[in-house]
């Protein structure tokens, strides 16, 4: 759409700008304040320069948390995106099945995050949970509160349960926008199932998939509540992802300086990745 230049449009944006700035800029400045200074309470500050940043960037604790976080996010993307596409491809296209699938699949998205954690805790408990009990009955030695491998498995399974539906819904919406004529043409040409997917369905889903990957990256990179309730970051530090480690440092140990420096580095990483994605997305949009 060709837009007209109108500087007065700023007046329409003011309420949004004020509300978001109120929430974003002032608290962010507090973080910046703590990141460069040492505080002894009572509003007394001492300039520390980049000391906290150096401390965080060379600390093994941060490297370990960042490593766990990146690994977790990569696993999540590698499972949820293909799985979501696969399920969307097999969803019914018409009839009563459509609303049933949509409603039931959206359910996990609307459950408060700590309830998701609590639910999976109950579900996976080795003695009284369905998952834990079944796995142990099948002969696996499963206990997510004591073995870090099991804790990872449970956390990933929980996230797959929680968020795959978002990818399914987005992909499904993308598939629905393909006109039947494309499929008919493919059939006349004798295209294989794979060729139909590769040359018709995948290109049509490109836009929604970019959004799906962006959203899944952001949210899995910021994950806090669900693993906190499920495993509490444990056993040991096995599932202490960035946010969990950060809250532990800021509110648990009250190491405000390093915590603030870590916050800024953390935010910077998310921002950089999203900036790249956002530009890719906008380029796609202007191409099509």
């Amino acid at each position: 759409m060709n837009k007209t230049v109108n500087q007065k449009a700023w007046f329409f944006v003011i309420p949004v700008f004020v509300l978001v700035a109120f929430n974003a800029i002032i608290p962010l400045m507090t973080v910046v304040n703590y990141a460069f200074q040492e505080t002894f309470g009572n509003n007394q500050f001492m300039w520390e320069g980049t000391r906290w940043f150096k401390q965080i960037l060379i600390s093994e604790r941060f490297h370990a948390a960042l490593g766990r976080q990146v690994l977790f996010t990569l696993i999540i993307l590698a499972i949820q995106i293909p799985l979501g596409i696969f399920i969307a491809l097999n969803m019914p296209k018409e009839g009563l099945g459509v609303p049933i699938c949509l409603v039931l699949m959206s359910m996990p998205l609307l459950i408060p995050w700590n309830v998701v954690g609590a639910m999976w805790n109950i579900f996976a408990l080795p003695d009284i949970g369905f998952l834990g009990h079944s796995l142990n009955a099948l002969g696996f030695d499963y206990n997510f509160t004591q073995q870090s491998g099991d804790a990872w498995f449970t956390t990933i399974l929980m996230d797959v349960w929680h968020w795959t539906s978002l990818v399914v819904l987005l992909s499904y919406a993308g598939l629905r926008s393909i006109q039947p004529a494309y499929y008919q043409a493919a059939e006349i040409d004798g295209a294989t199932r794979w060729a139909v997917f590769r040359h018709i369905e995948l290109p049509k889903m490109k836009k929604v998939l970019t959004i799906a990957i962006l959203l899944r990256f952001m949210d899995s990179f910021m994950i806090y509540t669900e693993p906190f309730v499920l495993t509490g970051g444990g056993p040991g530090n096995a599932t202490a992802f960035l946010s969990i480690d950060l809250v532990k440092m800021a509110l648990g140990q009250f190491d405000l300086g390093p915590a603030a420096a870590m916050s800024l580095i953390y935010f910077f990483i998310v921002l950089t990745v999203c900036w790249v994605f956002y530009n890719l997305m906008m380029r796609n949009e202007s191409n099509s």
């Binding site: 007209t4 109108n6 500087q7 449009a9 700023w10 329409f12 944006v13 309420p15 949004v16 509300l19 978001v20 929430n23 974003a24 002032i26 608290p27 962010l28 507090t30 097999n90 019914p92 099945g97 609303p99 409603v103 039931l104 699949m105 959206s106 359910m107 998205l109 609307l110 459950i111 408060p112 995050w113 700590n114 309830v115 609590a118 109950i122 579900f123 003695d127 369905f130 998952l131 349960w161 399914v168 819904l169 499904y172 919406a173 993308g174 929604v208 959004i211 910021m222 806090y224 309730v229 960035l242 946010s243 809250v247 509110l251 916050s263 935010f267 998310v270 921002l271 999203c274 956002y278």
Partner: protein
């Protein structure tokens, strides 16, 4: 191959329902049954857990608090986002692209980063432990989202609609409320759905900003798990009840969801 297509969504849905079933199952059991035995369905069916929640005010006020701030946040977010989304979809103005990305960056900010500064900030303006504080703090991620979704819907409305209305002598605000808003009700519905959803599921900020008076249900649940031993049945009942508002909202917007996603926003 085609014959068994229905198997995929069916298996997936069964996988989705299993933990929910287990939660419901636990919520109808007595504490002794939960701790001592492993049963696939309640042997001594009881409603005591639910009774406790509906009669104990520390429990049910949690629900009221949550619903109060979620509704407040949804109204604020949509009301503020409507004119802004209109501006982004119709006009070019100084810094529009940067402003749009800046708004989105707030959707990307990890809440854990903001927890402590929010606590200090809202305490200093005397809003700590109020519903307004939680509603305002959730604007941080809901307003950018609302602007993003609404802008998509508004851009799909042809500009000729605006121009015809002005030719017919409508003033801007009369056009906006009488013609424009009714044409994008589906979009507003979707936006409200997502604002409701993200405010309802968020806990970290809601918990940080409240103590007693505005404490959300989700935070009440954490307390049970940590202090008064492990009352799993009660916890399960409270958890099951938090699923209901979401399920009701989904049912009402089910037809819009696919449409909203199709526009590639959200």
């Amino acid at each position: 191959m085609k014959k068994f297509k229905w198997l995929v969504p069916t298996i997936y849905i069964i996988f989705l329902m299993l933990p929910i079933y287990w939660l419901l199952n636990m919520s109808f059991k007595t504490t002794t049954e939960i701790i001592n035995t492993y049963t696939l369905w309640p042997q001594e069916f009881t409603l005591d857990n639910y009774k406790k929640i509906f009669t104990d005010s520390t429990w049910y006020t949690g629900y009221l608090n949550s619903i109060y701030y979620v509704v407040l946040n949804t109204i604020i977010s949509v009301a503020a986002a409507l004119p802004a989304a209109y501006a982004f979809s119709r006009y070019k103005f100084l810094g529009d692209k940067h402003l749009f990305f800046w708004l989105l960056t707030n959707r990307m900010a990890p809440p854990a980063v903001f927890a402590l500064p929010f606590f200090q900030f809202y305490s200093s303006v005397n809003l700590f432990d109020t519903h307004v504080a939680v509603a305002l703090s959730h604007c941080l991620f809901n307003i950018p989202l609302a602007v993003w979704i609404l802008e998509g819907f508004m851009s799909s409305v042809p500009k000729e609609l605006d121009e015809t209305a002005y030719v017919d002598g409508y003033s801007f605000w009369k056009f906006f409320f009488k013609i424009f808003i009714p044409t994008i009700t589906a979009g507003i519905g979707i936006t409200m759905f997502f604002c409701f959803m993200f405010s309802w599921v968020e806990l970290l900020l809601a918990k940080t900003l409240t103590a007693v008076a505005a404490k959300p249900i989700a935070a009440t649940m954490t307390r049970t798990a940590s202090t008064s031993g492990y009352e799993l049945g009660l916890l399960a009942a409270a958890g099951s009840l938090t699923i209901i508002p979401g399920a009701i909202v989904i049912y009402f917007v089910r037809n819009y969801i696919a449409k909203g996603f199709a526009l590639g926003r959200v």
